[in-house]
Amino acid sequence: MGAVLQVVLVAVGSPLLVGMMRQVRARLEGRAGAGIGQPWRDLRKLVRKEPIAPDGTGWVFRAAPLLLAGTVLVVAAVVPLVSTTSPLDEVADLFAVVALLALGSVALALGALDTSTAFGGMGASREMIVLALVEPTILLSVFALSVRVGTTNLGTIVTSAVADPLAVISPASLLAAAALAIVTIAETGRIPVDNPSTHLELTMIHEAMVLEYAGPDLALIEWASAMRLSVLLGLLTSLFAPWGIATGNAGLLALLLAAVVVIAKVALLGALLAAGEVFMAKLRLFRIPELLAGSFLMALLAVAASFFLA
């Protein structure tokens, strides 16, 4: 029940979140903006086009968007956003979630390599650099939170955070929050790491990989990237600001209330992220490992602090 609501919420709401973030940026830059519904209109336009694939590409190229969207939908069902109980509770584990997200990224990178164009290969190699640095940091920072609870099950971690709200301001939790925020930005390709609105060959990472996709395939990828962004932002809010999340066997009303709260929290976080992006320039590609090494260090310190200060 809660899981179904979560998947529907993420599937429908993610393009709106992206639209809202673009709108915030546009307003802050003094433009009128295209409106919050624009990503949905773009998706509709793309879906109506005929499916077309470049010559010489194989099944990897065609399977990548499906795999990407599929993994994100599973993650949306598993991660505690609206409710901490999930039908996949035994596998709603930190390692499974990170592995699913990595599977989507790797599928997309393979799809980009399959086109054997220069841009595809370049984008895939850059994405792999970022991924190799991001995955250990996600694991470590959530691990820091799981030390306190004694399990890597995300639902249990969030439930205990609801029960003990003061634990959120412990150093371990704050360090993990900072590390996870940086990693979320890197993983979703937002501004200090990657610019989602650029097509400049020197800088693009994500856009370089999806350059050869068109029509419904591209729509699927855009939709999946939007869902990835909202799932990761949702995970961030659930772990560090879990107020209002439905625990246990909550009724319909509690679930709806929790859904409204999580929408408000994710929208607020998205707006903050978009507003921050206006004031920031993209980092040079060679500086990105520095940023991610810093976030890895913070995650490691969070683990150490949760062991030694507790």
Binding site: I169, S170, A293, L297, M298, A304, A305
Partner: protein, 226 residues
């Protein structure tokens, strides 16, 4: 020992103490991360505030007015006067960036992670002597001590090296307060004067270096000239 002071319940004392320690550690690590010298000085000032907050929290918890006063004094010196002096030296010194550290930034962050583990391992016997929330934070002080030493060894600019030295001193002060909860005022005053003197000497020295060599890159001062 006065009765006018309010008591700090342990449920609030431990999170506040941990929070101050976390801020202390984070600012120490951020010094390794940033290249901009002005930002490094600002981080050092923030660390001074965290240290002062830590001492004040300890003082309030133990109902020791002298400790609170020492904490405020330490804050005024390390978050106010020393950063002010360094900022003046920075303005006089010109060049505002750590261009090329001996060990690059990504590697030095990973080295810092190893140093943190080392500090935790080394501090275990110390903690076992008296396991209180305060002594459990000793590994953090030792981590910052090692990181300060690392900054001192691997940075090229005179100002970053001084910040490295001051990080070590902050960490030593913090260890003293965490383990003994209260150094005699005279000792603390002596240490503070020492540090102040070191920074004043540094300020004079950078001005002279700048006048003589046109920069404060210490690696260029290896050869003797006549």
């Amino acid at each position: 020992m006065t009765e006018t002071m309010f008591t700090l319940p342990p449920s609030l004392y431990v999170p506040l103490l941990d929070l101050a320690c976390g801020a202390f550690l984070l600012t120490g690590m951020m010094v390794l991360w940033r290249r901009d010298l002005a930002a490094i000085v600002r981080l050092f000032a923030l660390q001074g505030i965290a240290l002062a907050a830590l001492i004040v929290v300890l003082g309030v918890y133990e109902q020791d007015v002298e400790l609170v006063a020492v904490g405020l004094g330490v804050g005024a010196l390390r978050a106010g006067l020393l950063p002010y002096l360094m900022r003046r030296a920075l303005i006089a010194g010109g060049a505002g960036r750590e261009v090329r550290p001996v060990v690059n930034v990504a590697t030095s962050l990973l080295v810092a992670a190893v140093l943190a583990m080392l500090a935790y391992a080394v501090a275990q016997p110390l903690i076992r002597l008296s396991p209180t929330p305060a002594t459990q934070a000793v590994p953090i002080a030792l981590t910052v001590l090692l990181v300060g030493f690392f900054v001192l060894v691997t940075r090229r600019r005179a100002l970053s090296q001084v910040v490295g030295f001051l990080l070590m001193d902050n960490a030593i002060t913090m260890t003293a307060f965490l383990t003994t909860s209260g150094v005699p005022l005279v000792v603390e005053l002596g240490i503070s004067m020492d540090v102040l003197l070191a920074v004043l000497v540094f300020q004079v020295l950078t001005t002279r270096m700048r006048a003589a060599f046109g920069g404060t890159d210490l690696d260029e001062l290896r050869e003797l000239h006549d």
